[in-house]
Symmetry: C2
Subunit: 127 residues, 2 copies
Amino acid sequence: MKHYQTQAALMKALAHPVRLAILDVLRRREACVCHLEATLGQRQAYISQQLMQLREAGLIDSRKDGRMVYYWISDGRVYGLLDVLCGPAPVGGSYRADGCPCPYCAASIDAETIPVFSNKENSHAQR
Amino acid sequence: MKHYQTQAALMKALAHPVRLAILDVLRRREACVCHLEATLGQRQAYISQQLMQLREAGLIDSRKDGRMVYYWISDGRVYGLLDVLCGPAPVGGSYRADGCPCPYCAASIDAETIPVFSNKENSHAQR
DNA sequence: TCCATCCATTCAATAAGCTGAATATATTGT
DNA sequence: ACAATATATTCAGCTTATTGAATGGATGGA
């Protein structure tokens, strides 16, 4: 019999509405905590708690830029799973969040045309 | 903000190694409890407990035939999720289990060439 | 340096999930 | 009717997850 332990751990990390909501945001582009806070309407500490769990599960990674910390999906399986769960991710659009001070939202930058901030390969080609 | 409650419930049902193992068996064809018991090497009562949870989550359905109860996957999303989690399901093969008294295993019937027992549409086209 | 902002961490109370054990139900054959 | 077989259910003890609250740490601007 195979091991389903690792797969179950992946499912467990996704088995939470707020964590799913976070990943559904992150599959469009990387985002800072304040952006998730504004988008999801949840307290900052709570968002951070869920981000920690996602990080411990190896689903996301982060980088620090000034005061902001940007998170993105680092496990390619998440994209496929979200496609089944939520349908395909919308492409394009401004994707702004009111009250979020991050450069993405301040400039209302389109998700596709970002030369400065897009440095991680989000091309769904990871494993 | 969308509801991720139903999707999270689906993930929660999958967030268990034995339940994943059960579904990985069922995605090949329907199976009785004794077949799962023999295949997974788990106690019967334990298998039944997990089957109950999968049924309550709406992922599987069952039919009774004599003393046996056959289970199959009734939520089409499960196939897509298992494809991402475990890779594509193997096709063909005898798929017998030692010690299982069900007709499938007694006759060592191939998963594809079953005229008598295959009555449910397992064509992944639901939902 | 001081303050405001953005994020992370710890703690505690409650809720939920896990699983072994025991037992119940239903069906078939003798 | 009785026994054997296949499956379902309930219960209890234990572990784990959830979430609000409070607080800590780091960064940048004045």
